[in-house]
Subunit: 231 residues, 2 copies
């Protein structure tokens, strides 16, 4: 099968902020004063998008709720119908956002018998998703330290989980003789580091007109030159 293009990926994967907000709403009906689901979800989408946008520009802490009120078009009072504190808003986005990402990654990691193909697919899928949700990924990384300890732990586990997905494949390849790897954990770490650079330095790659497909192929080339048997 030909390598998946970003266009194909973004057509297939519907990253739905609405779905994410609906999940949050249904799990917290009792805490949210607004009782009409469609109204609540629509406003939640607005709030979450505005928060991500402002936070990526100035940082979540520097963003005041007056800024958020202006950007979202909702009054201060209305905002507090949807969350109980500013800290709570941060936790909601982090927690529900990260689990949405994990679900999408899981759903889009097809079963694949060839270990090398599997690795390539995972790298592409991660990168394409981080392109679709670049502001979210940036937000997750930059705002971890503003979370309370409980949610910080969840955030760290999410970092380790994505690394684990990589290292599991590396491990399989090492066992079946397809890869030669001296240090699986460090190999996984640097693959993750290279993938992360895509959304942490988006300004740089955009300025240089590097497409996510070019970048993905490059990361795959670097990785394979390191772990594949030299012929």
């Amino acid at each position: 099968m030909a390598d998946m293009s970003f266009q194909e990926f973004s057509g297939r994967v519907m990253v739905s902020v609405e779905e994410l907000c609906r999940d949050y709403y249904r799990e917290n009906r009792d805490l949210i004063r607004v009782k009409k689901e469609d109204v609540a979800v629509r406003n939640l989408v607005t709030i979450v998008n505005a928060t991500i946008k402002l936070s990526c520009r100035m940082g979540f802490d520097a963003m005041s709720l007056r800024d958020l009120s202006r950007e979202s078009g909702l009054s201060m009072g209305a905002l507090y119908s949807y969350f109980s504190s500013k800290e709570d808003l941060l936790s909601i986005i982090q927690c529900h956002g990260q689990s949405a990402v994990e679900r999408i990654l899981r759903d889009n990691t097809r079963q694949e018998s060839d270990t090398a193909v599997k690795l390539r697919n995972v790298i592409r899928t991660h990168l394409y998703l981080s392109e679709l949700m670049s502001q979210w990924f940036y937000f997750f990384f930059m705002e971890t330290k503003n979370l309370n300890k409980k949610y910080q732990k969840i955030s760290v586990e999410s970092e380790l989980l994505t690394e684990r997905i990589i290292t599991d494949i590396l491990d399989e390849g090492a066992k079946n003789g397809m890869f030669i790897i001296d240090n699986i954990q460090l190999t996984g770490s640097v693959i993750k580091a290279m993938m992360q650079d895509w959304y942490l330095k988006k300004w740089k790659y955009k300025q240089r007109n590097v497409s996510v497909e070019t970048y993905a192929q490059f990361i795959i080339d670097v990785t394979e030159s390191f772990i594949m048997k030299k012929t």
Copy 2:
């Protein structure tokens, strides 16, 4: 010559916050109310160290000057004898810190005729320095967006400069036939990304007992497997 150890490096490179603060003091005698140089420099060191420490924990924006007062042991009033605003304090640390880093890198990049050796030295030097000053590097990265535009530009240029140091060597190696590189700029980007991971994810590597020497050698191995002629 044998590869330099971190111990050797940290013995040779005196990263002196005092020196950095003295530079700042001498350039801004007129703005600083405290006139005894040794008193001023001593307190500046305390202030800068406390700022870095608190900012890495909670973020510069979330750190109040009352927090800084408590951590440094100086009163609010005393703090304002050393800088004119909170924003000013951030700029001082970013600007003087980054130029100190650039100077140290320049001073410690020995002339070297062998391109491959040169590349290895640069990777090691960058990583060892980012280990010595890990909180500073973390601070530089995380607090860029809180800077005003002028200093943001300086910060971006600093990012591009270190990448340029790498790509210049890659270019030389490509020209003299020592390296085979398809895309020099992207190669430089991912080398930088791998180096950056060392201080962005310090908690992870510490937890796993990965030493900076091990990490440096690993990055070098990954890089060389990608750019050296296969034999």
